[in-house]
Amino acid sequence: MSLKIALQDRRLIRNILNRNFFINIFLIVIFAFLIFFSIKRIEIDSGIMSLFPSDKKLKITLSVAQNSANAKKVIVYVKAKDESSLLNVIKDINSELANSDIKFVSAIPTTEQFLKLYQYIEKNSILLYPYEVNPFIESEINKRLKAKYDYISSSPFLDTSDSFLYDPLFFTPEIISLLKEISSGKYTPREGGLFSDDNSSYIKILNVDFGNEEYQKIVKLKKIDEKIKKVASLKKAEAFLFSSHLYFLESKSRITFELSIIFTLTTIFMCLIFYLFFRKLSLALFAAMPIIGGYAITFLILSFVRSKFGGIAFAFGATIMGISIDYIIHYLTKRDLYSSLKEVRDRISSSLFMGFITTLAGFIFLLFSQTEALFEITIFGAISISSVFLLSFFVLQPLLPPTGSKKDKQSIVIKIPFFNSKALFYIWILITLLLILFLPFIKFEDNIMNLDMKHKELDRRKELVANSFKESNDNIFLLFTGESREEMLTRSFKSLMLVREHSQGKNSFITPAIITPPESILKERRDFIKKYFNKELFLNSLNKSEFNIDSFNDWLSMVKHIDSVKLEPLSDDIKTLLYDPYFTKIEDKEYLMIHIYNRELAKTIQDILMSNNVDFQIVDIVEDTKDKLVKFEKNALLLVSFSLVLIFVILFIYFKNLVYSFTALLPAVTALLACIATSYFTNNGFNLMHFVVAVLVLGIGVDYGIFVTIAYKATFKKEELEHTFQSIIICALTTLSCFGVLAISANYSISSIGSSMFTAMSMALFTAIYALPYILKKDKKV
């Protein structure tokens, strides 16, 4: 070919490439639009229910956690050096709360409501008294009448209402005292809240009208928190807000901040990698096109096939790029070794195709997991990887064919040091054996909360509130079922009595049955009254007391006709506060739901009620998901193991050679071992995120193994071999740049991915570069 024609050809090729660059950009824009369009059509389910096999008890647990008043509870905590300072600070804080944008509603009775409750109890005292002791014996009647008189004489300004005369035996203070004890003071507020025993700290329990993921409103809550902290510190006191909303905000803010750093670092690293190895940043845009296209096709298909998709699967999908980019980089690295696209494809298509098939095979077994999240991960993974592969093969490669130009020929940037070293091979064997030794010691994460970041300050606040006030926002509930509310109330009341009896009154829980006893309990009390109350005895004692003989005639009439006496109704506002919140409906079945403030108490209650054959349920999102989580993780690991077997079978069918099948799989196996070992040393064991990494490194590791194995099988020339290793290094570097930086995250689920990915990829690379060539060269006796 003459020089003139060669130059014309080169100019033509350059023009074609420039045109193709704009086509590439155009495709990226189209794909980006499709992603935007599709995302709007898909509802993302951010719940964690899809992680677990369908289970009735777990459904109840998660529904209770989502529907409980706990999710909207906000606690205001104040501590000062003495009561006087405390009251001062409380006043200022009340002012801040009243002036805020957020509507706070007290979750405990106001003074006004407490007075109403007090009068309700007085009026109904004969039926509300629990009759744990007999108050109708002479000594008791005398004692109680005197106590009532002493109360009047020590309270000169007391304005008695009508209900006062319905409680001659002064039952009301005891009922109030019982309520105060079992509610830790929540039914008997002072200054609109609760004081600690030493009067140095105070809490106010409020409800808001937004949940844990309404972040715009939670930001306002955070601002109020800052304000009251400042107000208190000016008066040398401490005050803060405590709620589950703040946990969610802190996690989200931290993740957003870290992801922005991670994204920036990743972009910088990717640009550096592409510049270092390819000397052309425009290639990064070509490489991006199939990936963006893969996501676009996946989202488009999902938007028509499924209207709702799990957030967990979506998050996993974001990591698919780590696998898919291998096909692109392998092509970009190799394309200029050959003069035409056909020649490139002849040399590397089989390794690309085998890599693709074996990666897909890694997902297949997840379809049989009976877990919604894994099913969704499989669907997402299969569609996206297939799309990326097909786009890179049928679109990218024609858009970016080999130029045949020496100028465009990619040079080898990295020469592998100590290549084929025996010593390094033995080191590899040693490391692999050490990793295998860890296998029996594998532990599994059993607390889903450990996947979040540590919230040091919020946990400190939680402890302060729990220690002084027996209050928390942990989702632990005692549940009673029944055909009717009557039945549920009866069960809860009898359970309360059992718990108090077996713990000598030390342990208890609030049930609305204290102030609204069911008919069965009322009947028992009526029977007790009929059996033990003696009118003559009472009148005799009354005559000797300071009270007039006819003072309590209405009450006596009530006792006489006790069988027909019904409870006076609660006022609506008291009912809304102290009765309605205890009932919840889950899937058309009603439950009586009682919050238990800590796990030790829940365990004590559980032991007592179980030993007495009571029908109840303790719902604890952490405890209930524990076994399920471990089971999921074990099953997931088992499925990954099955996938290894399937991939081996596919490789054997292709290679028809045990050694080649083994070497192709080896990087994936060692990467998996490294991932498991990393989980042992970091966090609390193998968790969901380690599983995500396991699936990823299976796909990536087998690609490396296939690229190297085929290179040796097809007896690539030295230059081809060097480019193969360089492509593997670039793949590893891009993967590490995407995931490795995650290791620095404060969020444990993100750092789990980062740390395990780093070690797994390092091991896969080490295996591919230093183990496989040694094994394959020995095999071929080259």
Binding site: E83, T111, F157, D159
Partner: protein
């Protein structure tokens, strides 16, 4: 006035804020706003055979210093020192009263300064003179938990105060050994 809190506030303020009312309405007031007086109270209720009798003292030194101390049968003291109002019962810690959110029992102290205004707003006041003594009849304009308050005063001192409640309770205060216009011993406010 259906509000329970307001009813109680009116009831109790009726007694103590009447001091302010009387003194700020051109009626007898202690010289220099200084007063010390012993009292005996009698609470007559339909359900008790005998009245509940309490004894104690009241001291006033300017607008911002006021103390009501019951000595028998159970000791307690309610004090106002500037803005701070406190209550202390024998054997219990002192409690600061928040007028916006506290038990009705303390209501009458909250509006000490505002009591006169509230009293005038919600009540009719009639004055009479008999035997050289001034007699005031205070009746609520609207439905309330009390029916009337009768106050008898001589010169710048109270002699008696009676509150009549709708539940047939009558609370009567008799004031003795009253001293006005002289410096009040600080010990009464401690």
């Amino acid at each position: 006035m259906n509000n329970l809190f307001l009813k109680r506030a009116i009831f109790v303020m009726a007694f103590f804020t009447v001091f302010n009312f009387l003194y700020t309405n051109g009626l007898p007031k202690p010289k220099n706003n200084q007063l010390y007086t012993d009292y005996v109270s009698y609470k007559y209720t339909p359900y008790l055979k005998r009245p509940v009798i309490t004894t104690g003292f009241i001291a006033l030194d300017g607008k911002d210093k006021f103390v009501f101390k019951q000595l028998m049968p159970v000791e307690f003291v309610i004090k106002r020192l500037n803005e701070k109002i406190t209550f202390k019962r024998a054997g219990m810690a002192e409690v600061v009263i928040d007028k916006d959110n506290s038990n009705a029992e303390y209501d009458f102290f909250f509006l000490f300064d505002e009591g006169y205004e509230l009293l005038k707003e919600y009540n009719l006041i009639e004055k009479d003179i008999a035997n050289g003594k001034k007699e005031f009849l205070i009746t609520p304009k609207n439905k309330s938990n009390y029916s009337k308050i009768i106050v008898i005063a001589f010169d710048d001192k109270f002699e008696s105060l009676e509150l009549y409640f709708n539940n047939k309770t009558v609370l009567r205060y008799e004031f003795k050994n009253s001293i006005t216009g002289q410096e009040i011993d600080k010990k009464y406010f401690e």
